[in-house]
């Protein structure tokens, strides 16, 4: 069957099982947008290419399937660099198709030309410049294979216009579809290690059986590996408590008795201190991020480390493990469970009652807390979050941007199901929340999707709510509007002698309610505590269009606990009401 490159690309995406493309057409990618008309794949027309990228990420986060975005050359390609980098940092499977100027024009500074593969080389797991339509099926298959296997990540495919346009010599091709074996043979340098080394797994099991203060340090890799069930089995078999990092929230149910919640710079006291005082960290799909470890030299000084990761480069990158295991978290945990059973299982675990008592003592003494608002003050953002949490279904998907609102959400929400928390962890991309929520809702139309956002973040990508309205993607947005770049304000408040520099945004401009309405959403503004519950309930009832609620919150509210940057995790600062002198 003779096809042109554009048809071959669309057919390849269909055969890869793509059900939705987030994109925006333009000159160089035009020929691909013609066959899209006849394709059963859904295309969602975004308002800015960055939105397309974050939507693809949100979709991938909640479905586990690769998100696909497609944009044109030049400025469109540079606009997806942020989401590509975001996906790279957070290991999100994603395939991005970019248009490119005609092959012969490459290197001539043609209109809307840029060196897309050069620019994106450091923010993608791999990228391709297609030079002949004959390569399209192979490259698309390779791109999906690379994006979704091993440590997942974004793959970009840059395609010159004459490779996809009809009636050009580079665009002619005889259709074929490569087999899995063809793809493996074509990638001699790509062989992810999935199975852990049995000897190392046995060593890990023995170490666990000797440890009296162990902590499971679960990272985003648990979710990528679909290992939540296996993790639960490991925790329950051994009775070991679990911390879930920012990227792993939901990987272990927060309502489980062994759940310690989130560690790190804004982690709760017990999660942070449990790691700090531990004698064994069982790191599963986590990467000793600086936001978790604080000052590395002072991090968990007495702990031995078992480190399981599918990416060999993570082992020893920050902390040298005592037992390094390269492999897929799910497969390794399953083998580890077997190895522990072989050594006597639950009965062979040492007496850890003292450690458990210590942990529950901390939990009792240092719960997450905040002061209630006094009459006349702005809303407490934590109260708003708790109201949304308690009024929404248990399996609600929550997305967030970056900053104070992100930390409060991650701390206070009860994540009892995997794949319900979508946020930008590694790159810390403000503006992630709205488009990610749209992508998540497209992937899981059955689920309630709450986008928790800050007013600073919201202004960066809010235009995608027009996309959501027109495409009938009914997400719910809660803006915790404190009129500030809140996290920066908090640092200036705590570490720069309250000298506030360039952080004031104002709560009234723009008018978020009117802005939401102008984009086809239902808009609310909530200023008093009494209105919070009723408005959240109203929002939860609306299911035919997006809802935006402008919550006027108290700008003075800071996130606690906090570990000042560059300090040892022992320097954790708890809520002022929990300080010994208060």
């Amino acid at each position: 069957m003779q096809l042109n490159g554009g048809q071959a690309l669309i057919k390849s995406l269909e055969l890869e099982g793509v059900e939705v493309i987030f994109g925006l057409p333009g000159g160089a990618i035009l020929p691909v947008y013609d066959p899209i008309i006849d394709s059963p794949m859904r295309h969602i027309l975004v308002r800015h290419e960055q939105g397309a990228g974050h939507m693809a990420e949100g979709y991938a986060h909640v479905t586990g399937r690769p998100g696909v975005c497609m944009v044109t050359s030049g400025p469109a390609a540079t606009n997806v660099v942020t989401p590509l980098c975001d996906a790279y940092m957070d290991s999100i499977p994603m395939v991005c198709i970019t248009g490119q100027v005609a092959y012969g024009a490459i290197g001539t500074d043609a209109f809307q030309e840029c060196d897309t593969t050069g620019i994106t080389a450091s923010v993608t797991k791999h990228n391709y410049l297609v030079t002949d339509a004959k390569d399209i099926p192979r490259i698309i298959r390779e791109a999906f294979h690379i994006a979704t296997t091993g440590r997942p990540g974004p793959v970009l495919v840059d395609i010159p216009k004459d490779v996809v346009a009809p009636n050009t010599p580079r665009s002619e091709m005889e259709w074929y579809w490569p087999s899995d074996d063809d793809i493996k043979a074509g990638l001699p340098g790509y062989r992810p290690t999935l199975k852990g080394h049995p000897k190392k797994i046995k060593e890990a099991a023995e170490l666990i059986n000797r440890s009296v203060r162990p902590v499971i340090y679960a990272g985003g890799g648990i979710l990528k590996a679909r290992a939540a069930e296996a993790l639960r089995e490991l925790a329950e078999l051994t009775g070991i408590h679990v911390v879930t990092t920012l990227m792993a929230r939901g990987a272990f149910p927060d309502d489980h008795e062994l759940a310690l919640g989130m560690p790190g710079m804004h982690g709760n006291y017990t999660a942070v201190t449990a790691m700090q005082k531990s004698d064994l960290l069982i790191a599963l799909g986590s990467r000793f991020d600086d936001r978790v470890t604080g000052k590395v030299d002072g991090f968990a000084p007495d702990a031995k480390v078992i480190h399981v990761d599918i990416d060999p480069a993570e082992l020893g990158k920050v902390r040298v493990p005592d037992v390094p295991i390269v492999g897929d978290s799910r497969l390794v945990i399953e083998e580890l469970v077997k190895a522990i059973r072989d050594l006597g299982g639950a009965d062979a675990q040492p007496d850890r009652s003292k450690w458990k008592a210590t942990l529950s003592g901390w939990q009792e003494k240092f719960p997450l807390t905040y002061d209630d608002a006094e009459p006349g003050e702005g809303l407490k953002p934590q109260m708003v979050l708790e109201t949304i949490r308690d009024s929404s279904p248990d399996d609600t998907i929550v997305t967030s941007g970056v900053g104070q609102h992100q930390m409060w959400t991650s701390q206070l929400w009860k994540f009892n199901h995997p794949y319900t928390w979508v946020n930008s962890g590694g790159l810390g991309t403000m503006g992630f929340s709205v488009p990610a929520a749209i992508g998540a809702k497209v992937g899981r139309p059955d689920a309630t999707v709450w986008c928790i956002d800050g007013d600073g973040c919201f202004q960066m990508t809010a235009q995608e709510l027009t996309t959501a309205s027109i495409e009938r993607i009914p997400i719910k947005v809660a803006i915790l509007n404190n009129g500030y770049l809140g996290m920066v304000r908090q640092w200036q408040d705590m570490f720069y002698d309250e000298r506030f520099s360039q952080v004031r945004l104002t709560q009234d401009l723009p008018d978020y309610k009117m802005w939401a309405e102008s984009m086809g959403c239902v808009g609310f503004r909530v200023e008093s505590p009494e209105e919070v519950q009723a408005t959240v309930d109203k929002a939860n009832e609306i299911d035919d269009r997006p809802v935006v609620i402008d919550f006027r919150t108290d700008a003075r509210e800071n996130v606690f606990p906090i570990i000042p940057a560059g300090q040892n995790n022992d320097a954790i600062v708890v809520h002022p009401s929990q300080e010994p002198n208060s």
Partner: protein, 178 residues
């Protein structure tokens, strides 16, 4: 010019022979803050679909392990061998144009002979010579030629192979990380 033994490491990187691969490899070094001391690229003789990149880096060994692991993550990188200078043979090629007027020509030729070099071009008052040897020996040649007057000098990056150890080959395959 020369890195002495203990300071440098030689990575022999087998890559797919595809457009842009060298830039990916070099770019990775730049991004992680490593300076490449010398670089040599050539197709492998056994299979034209692969290239061998020989990279000499000036680093401590601990960060080198990290860069090796990161390098191995590149999809087009097939295999990495790290050669300790003590356990490998290294060669570099030098081309030099030396001033050699009739009165001094025979001295230059003699010197080139001592180092098993060859005369590859002859002019009225100069000679172009070619010597291939270990980087240290090439330093010596350079030093000895200098008094005659060096007009131009070019050296390639070094290439290396593991020494044929009689007891235990210490070629460490960096890709095999347990």
């Amino acid at each position: 010019m020369t890195l002495r033994d203990h300071q440098h490491h030689t990575l022999v990187v087998l890559v797919e022979n595809k457009a842009g691969v060298l830039s990916r490899v070099a770019g990775l070094f730049a991004r992680r803050g490593f300076n490449i001391f010398s670089l040599a690229v050539a197709p492998t003789t056994e299979d034209e679909s692969f290239n061998r990149i020989t990279i000499v880096v000036d680093v401590e060994s601990a960060p080198l392990e990290q860069i090796t692991k990161q390098l191995f993550k590149l999809v087009n990188v097939v295999k990495i061998s790290e050669l300790d200078p003590r356990d490998s043979v290294e060669r570099e090629l030098m081309l030099a144009t030396v001033r050699a007027e009739a009165s001094e020509r025979s001295q230059v030729i003699e010197l080139v002979d001592v180092f098993d070099g060859t005369i590859v071009d002859v002019g009225h008052n100069e000679l172009t010579i070619s010597v291939s040897d270990s980087p240290e020996r090439l330093d010596d040649v350079e030093e000895l030629l200098r008094p005659f007057g060096l007009i131009e000098l070019q050296r390639t990056g070094r290439v290396a192979l593991p020494k044929l150890e009689r007891n235990s080959p210490r070629l460490r395959n960096a890709s095999k990380v347990s």
